[in-house]
């Protein structure tokens, strides 16, 4: 959403007085035009809705393995302070959460449980695969671990690393916020001008 700011002339007292007059209906003509222009913001409803959603992401309090430590550092600690970006309030019920951070390896015994948690979350909902293990199984190329969480559920953002640094996860969440606003970063596609060549499943 593009917000253009124009400098408001006059000091605070004058502006307060103008606002009172505007509400009372005492302004007329050119004065009224200018006041309305300064105080109104035009946008589409969907954009405003998405803007509200992206700034109120509620992550599910849910850790899988060692990446959970980094995730807790991001979500819970004042050092990294995810609330700066509006995604801080952890909800421990999938009914109230709308962001699922898969922090760690997903074993084949855990996969149906995660799928159920995902199904219980209300729309709209987003998923971040955090770390190498939940993205591609990482080094666990064996019988017990699902080879990438996207085998059984949709994933929006993949954060590489083993585990990713807290800054990387915050960057992933900001990428997700871009996606929620409708202009996702295209990554290498943008760099190599390959947009529009996505595979359609």
């Amino acid at each position: 959403m593009e917000v253009t700011r124009t400098k408001v002339e006059g000091d605070l007292r004058v502006r307060q007085l103008k606002a009172q007059q505007l509400l009372r209906g005492e302004l007329e003509g050119e004065d009224l035009e200018r006041e309305v222009e300064q105080r109104l913001l035009f946008t589409r409803f969907e954009v405003a809705q998405n803007w509200a959603r992206k700034n109120a992401l509620f992550p599910l309090g849910f850790g899988l393995a060692c990446c959970a430590i980094e995730m807790i550092t991001v979500i819970g600690s004042p050092r990294n302070d995810l609330s700066r970006f509006g995604a801080e309030v952890t909800r421990f019920s999938p009914r109230q959460a709308d962001l699922l951070i898969l922090s760690g390896r997903v074993s084949i015994k855990m996969a149906p449980i995660i799928r159920r948690l995902y199904d219980q979350m209300l729309e709209p909902k987003w998923v971040i695969a955090m770390g190498a293990c939940s993205s591609t199984a990482g080094m666990f190329n064996n019988y017990a671990v699902v080879q990438g969480a996207d085998k059984f559920m949709p994933v929006d953002v993949y954060v590489p690393g083993c585990p990713p640094r807290p800054e990387a996860l915050i960057y992933g969440i900001m990428k997700l916020q871009d996606k929620i606003m409708g202009n996702p970063g295209m990554g290498w596609r943008e760099r190599y001008r390959a947009e529009g060549t996505e595979e359609i499943a």
């Binding site: 084949i108 199984a137 190329n141 019988y143 017990a144």
Partner: protein, 173 residues
Amino acid sequence: MPDATGLELIAQRVREKVGDEAVTGTVFHRRHATLDVAPPSVRDVLAHLRDDEGEPWDQLMSVHGVDYLPEEPRLGIHYELLSMERADRLNVRTRVSTEEPHVPTVVDLYPTADFHEREVFDMFGVVFDGHPDMRRILMPEDYEGYPQRRDFPMGGEPVIYTFNEPKLPRWYD
């Protein structure tokens, strides 16, 4: 660890008390004493080692399985015994084949063996006769096969490195 002579003495006492056919051999390798035992008499041997006057082995530290694939019988079950009195360990081992993997349980002697035996059953498919609750413990209940056996496929997906690139299908093929 008991030294090689001590191990032979233990084996001799077990032969006297439990029976000649109970002990199939002794291995003393890298200061680690192993008493090889015939599968049917595992429970009797462990009971003797725990309860006899001259034997101090009163704790079972772990039960674990091994797959010695080229050798027969393939599967091995190790009982790791500890004596706090002598600060000493003794390994009791028995070998079963994959066709008939049956061993008597020791849960009534050592309650700690409950989960250990279930894990050996889960990973190697060894059935402990008389166990109160012989189910899988780690893998899902409907899982097929015993994943720690050496002839079990690795699972996962083939990963392409430079050394195996010609052998595996390429992503662009």
